[in-house]
Amino acid sequence: MRFEAPRSVEEAVTALAGQTGAHVLAGGTDLLVKLRAEMIEPELIVDIKRIAGMRDVVAEDGGWRIGAAVSGAEMGEHAGLCADWPGVVEAVGLIGSTQVQGRATLAGNLCNASPAADSVPAMVAAGAVVRVVGPKGTRDVAVIDIPKAPGKTTLAAGEFIASVFLPARGARSGDAYLRFIPRTEMDIAVVGCGIALSLDAAGRVAAARVSLGAVGPKVMLVDAAAEAIQGRVLDEAALADLAAVCSAAATPIDDKRGTVDFRRHVSGVLARRAAVIAEARAKGEQA
């Protein structure tokens, strides 16, 4: 195995394109676990952290462009990100321990393509778009379109994610992400739910995006859940409808972390709770 730490995107693309069995290293919190378990035996590791811009958070079009190597801890310390997309920041903050936060990245969490990835439902709800670089140039792709199957992405050989763009938050908008785990920390999500919504002047839901994690082979965007609350004040009836739609939309499996029945039920529970938080944030309340 070889190790390279290129200084530019072009060098990285060249290195990745010229080698089968090449893996991109950003935070490494998934990659090194797989390496250690001998799940992967790379020929080449390309560390992208030394490429200019990879560790920067930059304002762009009213939103934020987050370099692929920005760690969760750095996001949590960024006042602008925390103000605009607290749900995304909290979601990435739930990944692993304080130590893991020192290294783990949004882009890595996405490329690991786990259906239970915490930051992915939050990014999907936020309408995040990633910038993919590769031998055929640069393209922008919606986060929801990156995962293909557990452990698999739609990225082509030699491609990697250079940055994640979180769009302008918009007026009267807020987001939230909640997950269920058996302990209080250190577990993989049994169910995850991200919600981003905006309210009209009367406090009704003007637009919403609702996503679920760990209840299907990929993180899912639940359009029916958004429709269930569209145009409504988030009263008990609306929340009950939201919960019911999310429970119905979930397509989970039984495994060592949870059962089908549990995951279905908790999908609704989390959707309801996340919606309340997102609504409060949209109203400018502390939540």
Partner: protein, 159 residues
């Protein structure tokens, strides 16, 4: 398979080492540099026994390649005391019996020091969540949490 030459700083000392591409920073610290105070409990980032700081940021050294250390500043448990003067956390851990077997202790001390550098007045909940990635099987955490809180109080009074 040629080894990688890395120049870095460990506990304030300029340090060079050679490592295989797949060697973790933990492997390097323990096997190349003889700094065995950093422990391996799991190798998967789930126990925190291998905690070190890299450029001031708390990380698991089992989740970082040795090659990534080029140009960085690494601090391990061996860099915590100043000569024979213990860091206040080290002293308090002994006085308050915040360790039993001691295998998790280096990682917990490194993590706790990192917390107090950022937050000199943490609540109990903040200490517990900050240290959630440092497993201890002996103490039930009670005396560890108390020792961190008391050290923080002492350090605030002293400053």
């Amino acid at each position: 398979m040629s080894r990688i030459h890395v120049t870095t700083t460990v506990n304030g000392d300029a340090t060079e080492f050679l490592c295989d591409a797949e060697a973790t920073l933990l492997d390097v610290l323990r096997d190349e540099l003889g700094l065995t105070g950093t422990k391996e409990g799991c190798g998967t980032g789930d126990c925190g026994a291998c905690s070190v700081t890299v450029d001031g940021r708390l990380v698991c050294s089992c989740l970082m390649l040795g090659a990534e250390a080029e140009g960085r500043e690494i601090t391990t448990i061996e860099g915590m005391a100043a000569g024979d003067t213990l860091h206040p956390l080290q002293q308090k851990f002994i006085e308050m019996a915040a360790l039993q077997c001691g295998i998790c202790t280096p990682g917990i001390l490194v993590a706790a020091k990192s917390l107090l550098e950022r937050n000199p007045d943490p609540s109990e909940e903040e200490v517990r969540y900050w240290l959630a990635g440092n497993l201890c099987r002996c103490t039930g955490y009670d005396k560890i949490i108390r020792a961190v809180m008391e050290t923080a109080a002492d350090m605030r009074r002293a400053s």
